[in-house]
Symmetry: C2
Subunit: 240 residues, 2 copies
């Protein structure tokens, strides 16, 4: 592992999975709505398929089939399909919109707020997510995430791993790519950032996908600049 | 004064003059450099003319003569002219860039941090400035400004009072214009926002221009939704 991090001035974080535990939070919200409606179902599968709507929406953009959309839009489209499939009828439009914004109310992993707070004392800390700005701002208010700046694919009208998303973070901060570190629990995100000259930080989230079929990245590879088990340890390695 | 503010979810602030005392801060920095170089001069006039470079640069964009530029670029162009005129030679490139970033190190007015911190407990609080994102982020780190989100003309590639800058704030936050309040010490900024349906908040900054020729707005007019003498009083009026 290399460790030339002396030039780093800003840390930008992937959010879903890296900073917040989207799956447990979504399962909690959707199962509560199911109970309210008197519907039983496989809520883990519901959560994974809801999440899949976001990935499918981004892929349709990458394939040139659709224009840029907010995560909110992608979530709502898939939610409407799932509610119908699960026979969850009777929600008002306001209730459905509130449920769709469950993605704005995702719980931070236990070490996130403390780790970010430590890192903020020395670095600019920001998001760099494919979620839309409004979603990320609301999530930060909900979970107490102390971002200095909310950056997102939305500001480049694209999605990671499009190079222009990573480069937009450096440009907007007035920094060189090598002064920005991408932090994520997903190696593919870090590899895409590293190709452009950003530094990389990795903390595994072994339970991100729960019992779902997708497998988490458990260990960093040699290309990663800084890796740690928790964001507390990561802050220590970053000299805070 | 009307006061239909029950729908407001986010407050976006003008920054130069409204949140920070740019003139005193710039006079302090440039006079220190003058002393270091053994040059005496009218540092108030220097500050006002430096600030004028920013206004002139934005006007050249509005007139279609130049493309969009960061405040950093506009500041640097005028700085180079002023350093030459004042006979301030001998600064290295690094020293000149550091001096140019005096605009990233502007002191908050005495009530800004406490008022914003109170408002943050109930509202999303953000910038909506013609300064670039990197400048605003660095300024927040310097002055302890607790923004939830850093919004700027840069994100719409234009400058206030272009409607698309105000509307971009609502769009990025996922809010209707009437759910966003523009806060400023400058009535022209608030009038432009109000035309688009944003709510408006005013706190005067009587000493913004010091002994310069420009005159501050001292009182709100009937179009302003909420006006106060300080941001502490403003927070109280906003129900915090």
């Amino acid at each position: 592992m290399s460790s030339d991090i002396s030039q780093v001035k800003a840390l930008v974080f992937d959010v879903f999975g890296t900073v917040v535990d989207w799956r447990s939070s979504i399962i909690r919200e959707i199962s509560a709505v199911g109970k309210q409606l008197g519907v039983d179902g496989d809520w883990e599968a519901f959560a994974d398929r809801w999440r899949g709507g976001y990935h499918d929406g981004m892929q349709s953009f990458r394939d040139g089939k659709r224009g840029w959309m907010t995560a909110d839009t992608m979530h709502r489209e898939r939610l409407d399909i799932l509610l119908s499939e699960y026979g969850m009828t009777g929600l008002s439009e306001d209730e459905t919109e509130h449920l769709n914004k469950a993605w704005h109310r995702l719980d931070p992993w236990p070490d996130s707020v403390a780790g970010l707070t430590r890192l903020k004392s020395r670095y600019i800390i920001g998001t760099l997510s494919n979620g839309n700005v409004g979603l990320l701002v609301n999530m930060a208010k909900y979970g107490g995430l102390p971002w200095d700046v909310v950056l997102a694919g939305e500001l480049a009208q694209s999605y990671k791993p499009d190079p222009k998303v990573y480069l937009s973070a450096a440009t907007l901060l007035g920094l060189e790519p090598g002064e920005v570190m991408m932090c994520a629990a997903h190696l593919h995100d870090l590899h895409a950032a590293a190709k452009l000259g950003l530094r990389t930080g990795f903390v595994a989230r072994p339970t991100e996908y729960g019992s779902g079929s997708r497998k988490p990245d458990l260990v960093a590879d040699d290309s990663i600049d800084v890796a740690a088990e928790t964001y507390d340890e990561f802050a220590t390695k970053m000299g805070v």
